[in-house]
Amino acid sequence: MSPADVGVRLAGLREEFDRSFAEPARRHDVEYAELLAVHAGGRPYALRLSQASGLHSDRPVTPLPGPQPALLGVAGFGGAIVPVYDLAALLGHALPERPRWLVLAAGAPPLALAFHGLDGHVRVPATDIVEEAGGHDGRDVLRGMVPLAGGTRPIVDLPAARAAVHRLTGHNPHVQEEP
């Protein structure tokens, strides 16, 4: 590369750099929803990213013998011990194979939900989401639907899933700490 080429390239980079400041900042508007397209127990679902505090794959989960079949075990996250529940089991259609993805539900106490496959991350206009006040199936974990490539997916509401786990474990919401 000759010195002249370098000069041209440098000028180009400078210009680009300056332009990036001149342009108005791009904004992530509230009218968009960030979703994770997932598979749990062989069925497609969507999760709202804003309700999650982390996504992990292939974390070792130590099985815990106990009364809850949906409880896969406990996993370590940065020194904290987090219970891992099978999302498919909470939705009532568990599969024998262990799910390899974990999503940490926002809030307290710590809780992770496991699902089998991650299909991708999508950003959709909020108006595309079919909102529903209650849940269906009487299970109260699914809230709304979203049309995505490949079909419409029910949305798993993580706070509702958390509430379902709290009910299962008899966790008293009155003593629940603030997140």
Binding site: T62, P63, P65, G66, P67, V74, I81, P83, V165, T169
Partner: protein, 685 residues
């Protein structure tokens, strides 16, 4: 390198101040030349160190402290009260200056500690210090984690080396089969040598890595233990509170602390310490009588406040016992009635019930400040702490006999030594203090123990629990070789033998409670972290005893949690029947037994089975016939059959396949793994 000139002085000064604080109180309680000499030593060291780092205020007070003590160097008797008070005052001032130079404190202006005296019982004040170098320990744990991460390439290196070793062996083998010339002979010898050297090196590397990892694990456990602090850390502050309160009240009170060696989570200890501060003060002010009254009541003139710390399973109990007058139950009853907790004229409740009632009702909010209400404040603080941490408070009192207030708090972190065991691929730890002994089991002993649910140990039949069964309760036990070692665990005067595959050494553990949303079987006492930060189960001795009793009442048969069809075992040999049953049951199958082909056919027609497992050589109908007959019956032909026989000939195998057996297992080369693999293939989950 730190530029902070006070870095080391802080640590030393803190230690000396703690020793001086404890020493003055000790001198108060046990006068003599020895405590005086010790205090002089501490004060002198502090003075010197303070001068070096130009902490003149501290040096001056340490000097003044020495001046008070020097004339009493050879006094056996107690110090005059005024001088002791002066020592305490100087002690407080030094303490305040030392606290001021600790990180997070404003360095100047220097604080002016109050003269010791009765403090407001409900005033906000720092809790007794339960200090720990948490940040340093966290750094250390991070460093250990880093060191452990460096082992990953070593482990993969070990695997590569093992591959090289096998390649060299293959090469040596290939050279052996070739035409033998002088050249190939030499090459072969070289290849053999290479294979041997590589093999030895590979084993050595694997051993070293394993050992280093074990040691690193131990270091991690000990480092985590450093985060915990000794319970005795709160005693000095409590002693001082008792002394100050007694001084203000003109009473003579002795303080005693017991169980100071227990190491606890600093947060729990600090909160318990702050509650106890109120409780001991109340014990002195409201509990201990004046000297005169005590003597009249026939008690020693000097009152006693005893604080005991003890571990109760996953809880720590803090007890404050005084030998004072006890609660005024009449006044308590009046308070209870006034607050509408009792209706006047009700039959008198028992003392404990009355105290509990008032405790729950919260007498501290009573508008009239009575002696009882004064007690209430201390109890309120204790109750707040208990509520905050999920513990409880109880009170035992007897009029004229004294009071014990008990604060029981769950231990968030607890350090113990654990025996690391493996069962069916799961690693778990058993608290070492509950382990009596470990017994190696021969395969037939293990099979008998699994079968009968008992193990002969020390002349007794001890209940036997295969750990795999407890760990996989409600699901299929992964195939495993069966217990190789029995760990005899004792709890509450009962012993159980826990069958594990193997022992994997001992380790220092810090046990954490299970997270809130993870209910577990009672055999699980908590979790610890392994080197990779993954949870590892810690078993609970009481839970193991209880689980063994529960399974024992079920006839040592695991609960059929899976709705799988049962398996029918047909064999004329009792031993074989029992062995097969134990294998199948450990793997989570329900099993029916038949002692002959005839009985087998009868049972097969009376119930739906998932599989038949049959012997060949039996009197009457043999196994071939059994299989053939069931194949011929349209109702039964869908149920797969496995032949298990000592016959190993090709003809027998062919005949088995002809009659329709799905598999053929030879008893002589009986392999549990192979059998279970066949069964898993044939019986849908």
């Amino acid at each position: 390198m730190s530029q902070d000139p006070l870095r080391y002085f802080r640590v030393e000064a803190r230690e000396l101040v703690d020793q001086i604080s404890a020493g003055v109180l000790d001198l108060d309680q046990h006068p003599g030349t020895e405590p005086v000499a010790r205090l002089l030593r501490f004060a002198h060291t502090l003075k010197g160190a303070a001068r070096v780092v130009r902490q003149q205020e501290i040096a001056d007070r340490a000097h003044a402290f020495e001046e008070v003590l020097v004339p009493h160097r050879s006094d056996e008797g107690p110090l005059p009260a005024a001088e002791l008070r002066e020592l305490l005052r100087l002690n407080d001032e030094i303490e305040a200056y030392v606290s001021a130079i600790e990180p997070g404190e404003k360095p100047a202006p220097a604080p002016h500690p109050q003269a010791p005296g009765p403090r407001e019982a409900h005033a906000a004040e720092p809790a007794p210090a339960a200090r720990t170098a948490t940040a340093d320990v966290d750094d250390l744990l991070d460093a250990i984690g880093e060191a452990h991460a460096r082992f990953a390439p070593l482990r993969t290196g070990g695997l590569s080396l093992e591959r090289l070793h096998r390649a060299a062996e293959t090469l040596a083998d290939q050279l052996r089969t070739g035409r033998a010339t002088a050249g190939t002979r030499a090459a072969r010898a070289a290849a053999v040598r290479l294979a041997v050297d590589l093999g030895a090196f590979s084993r050595q590397l694997a051993d070293t890595v394993e050992q280093a990892e074990r040691e690193l694990d131990e270091v991690r456990g000990r480092a985590e233990r450093l985060r915990l602090v000794a319970a005795s850390g709160i005693f000095t502050a409590l002693h001082r509170a008792v002394r100050d309160a007694a001084d203000a009240e003109g009473k003579r009170v002795r303080f005693e602390g017991r169980g100071g060696d227990l190491r606890l989570d600093p947060q729990v200890l600090t909160l318990a310490g702050s509650a106890l501060l109120h409780i001991v003060r109340n014990a002195v002010v409201h509990g201990i009588e004046t000297e005169q009254r005590r003597v009249t009541a026939g008690k020693p003139a000097e009152g006693t406040v005893l604080v005991t710390v003890e571990r109760r399973g996953r809880y720590a109990a803090f007890l404050c016992t005084d030998d004072g007058r006890g609660f005024d139950l009449v006044a308590l009853r009046r308070t209870a009635e006034a607050r509408g907790l009792l209706t006047p004229g009700d039959p008198a409740p028992a003392e404990d019930a009355l105290v509990d009632l008032v405790l729950r009702g919260g007498i501290s909010t009573s508008p009239t400040v009575t002696e009882v209400a004064g007690r209430g404040i201390g109890l309120d603080v204790a109750r707040d702490v208990a509520e905050q941490l999920g513990g409880h408070v109880s009170v035992r009192t007897g009029t004229g006999r004294g009071t014990t207030i008990e604060l029981v708090l769950p231990l968030a972190l607890l350090s113990l030594h654990g025996l690391v065991v493996e069962a069916a691929g799961t690693v778990a730890s058993v608290p070492l203090d509950s382990v009596r002994t470990c017994v190696r089991l021969a395969p037939e002993q293990a099979a008998a123990a699994v079968m009968t649910g008992k193990l002969a140990y020390d002349g007794e039949a001890v209940p036997f629990l295969p750990l795999a069964r407890a760990l996989y309760a409600g699901s299929t036990v992964p195939e495993n070789a069966g217990p190789g070692v029995a760990v005899v665990v004792a709890a509450d005067d009962e012993c159980v033998a826990v069958g594990v595959d193997r022992l994997a050494g001992t380790s220092t553990l810090v046990v954490r409670p299970l997270p809130e949303l993870a209910p577990a079987a009672p055999v699980i006492g908590g979790v610890s972290m392994d080197l990779d930060g993954n949870p590892r189960l810690v078993l609970d001795a009481q839970g193991l005893v209880a689980e063994t009793a529960r399974l024992g009442t079920l006839g040592a048969v695991p609960s059929p949690a899976t709705p799988r069809l049962p398996i029918l075992v047909v064999d004329d040999s009792l031993t074989t029947r029992m062995l097969e049953r134990s294998i199948l049951e450990s793997a989570g199958y329900e099993v029916d037994l038949a002692a002959s082909g005839e009985e087998g056919l009868e049972k097969a027609r009376s119930r739906r089975y998932g599989l038949y497992l049959t012997d060949i050589d039996m009197p009457g109908i043999d196994g071939f016939t059994f299989v053939a007959e069931t194949r011929a019956d349209p109702e039964l032909s869908g149920v797969p059959a496995i032949l298990v026989s000592s016959r190993a000939s090709a003809e027998d195998r062919a005949r088995g396949a002809d009659v329709g057996a799905s598999a053929y297992v030879v008893k002589g080369e009986f392999d549990q793994e192979e059998l279970l693999a066949h069964i898993r293939r044939l019986v849908p989950a």
